[in-house]
Symmetry: C2
Subunit: 111 residues, 2 copies
């Protein structure tokens, strides 16, 4: 296991929604979550007290955050303050977004 490079079995796999899987790893205060979308995979609208910032790495997805909607591709970033409802639709699969939460999301830790 690497202290600085989370990978393989260090990651906690979570089925978030049909066609959407997360692979999470905690830091000290920031929680990393790789989110893989199959075509049409949808993170349904939800909110949480954690701040969520992230970047699209592969493929494309439509982000609906509060009243704003954007289609994002590799290198595009987003920032979601705590408590703001958001929804994400995978468009061009396989799509990968990587999220960074503050503080740690307890429900994303390995049991």
């Amino acid at each position: 296991m690497s202290r600085y490079f989370p990978e393989g079995d260090d990651l906690h796999a979570i089925d978030l929604f049909p066609g959407v899987r997360a692979f999470t790893a905690p830091g000290e205060h920031i929680h990393i979550s790789r989110v893989e979308f199959d075509h049409g995979g949808v993170v349904e609208i939800h909110q949480h007290p954690h701040e969520q910032c992230g970047v699209m790495v592969k493929g494309r997805a439509r982000f609906e955050i509060g009243e704003e909607v954007r289609e994002l591709g590799p290198g595009d970033t987003y920032r979601i303050p705590g408590g703001i409802p958001h929804r994400v639709v995978g468009l061009e699969a396989p799509a990968l977004a990587v999220d960074f939460f503050y503080p740690i999301r307890e429900s994303y830790l390995k049991p």
Copy 2:
């Protein structure tokens, strides 16, 4: 200006090192920093009290964190606790890594 999608003039451009440029945008507690490497661009060894997590988006780079060294490509993540010395060498250009700091890095804010 978008509240949730930092882009264009919202980003604060910083020349970090020769061949290495950052484009930063603060969230509430997390600070986003897009870091672009020319071939051979180097973030020289340094440390800071902020936790730094991130993901390689384009190209390749060698990350030296504490005593660990890895060559990372698109989708690979890293987590650097506060106070740990680190150095990054751009290999396959143009390379893009996106960093997420906690807390906000005051020196990365627009003057």
